[in-house]
Amino acid sequence: MASSNPETESNNGSSIAKEPEKPQIEAFRMPTMEEMRAQEVWNNCAVRSVASGVMGGGLGLMMGMFLGALDNPIMQEEMTGRQQFMYTMRQMGQRSWSSAKAFAVMGLIFSAAECVVEKARAKHDTTNTVVAGCVTGGTMSAKGDENCKKEYNVSFMGQDEV
């Protein structure tokens, strides 16, 4: 049994374990200069958004590979085994690359927007996330709209010519 006398303890929380089951609370250390600089790296908006974009790209890659493999089942009669394999590989690669790009852009924009908004407001809130989500959604749908418009025009004009 150890007594906890407040004056004899160090004033930042190191204590003697009272029972064998209680975990030892270790003394508090002030962060060193290297630790502070390492934390400062993650406060940079560019670093955070690039890291988030890379992670999004990795996620998109995985998801695209998985979904691309399941996409078009090929007929057994046309190609040999090896050709089937190559075809599936190419399809998986295309799908995963496009999906990786989309997710990377999404992650980048979301992270950058959230970082900028939080730095501007100087508050840690859910409002930052909401605004960042709005910006990301708007950007993605603005991008998507162009493609939809082009495809729509082509198909429409194709029908006109016929």
Partner: protein, 84 residues
């Protein structure tokens, strides 16, 4: 009062001034830390690291506090009486 220092400032006087200055500095630091902590950090601690919003808030708070402090110090030391 033995002035054994050629610059004319007594050793004890210098020591007293240094002590006053030190007390002033310590008081300034304590008040600055207290004010900016109370203003910027939410009392319900969700994590142990300072997040980015709190970091910006503390940067701005310290900068403003320092600016105000130096400005008022200048006014008081120059005029001797705050202009009102």
């Amino acid at each position: 009062m033995a002035a054994n220092n050629p610059t004319g400032v007594d050793k004890e006087q210098a020591f007293g001034m240094a002590e006053t200055e030190m007390e002033y500095r310590v008081e300034l630091f304590n008040r600055l830390a207290q004010t900016c902590f109370n203003k910027c950090v939410d009392k319900r601690y969700k994590e142990s690291e300072l997040n980015m919003g709190e970091n910006s808030c503390i940067d701005r708070c310290v900068s403003k506090y320092w600016q105000v402090n130096s400005m008022i110090g200048q006014l008081l030391s120059a005029g001797g009486r705050p202009p009102m």
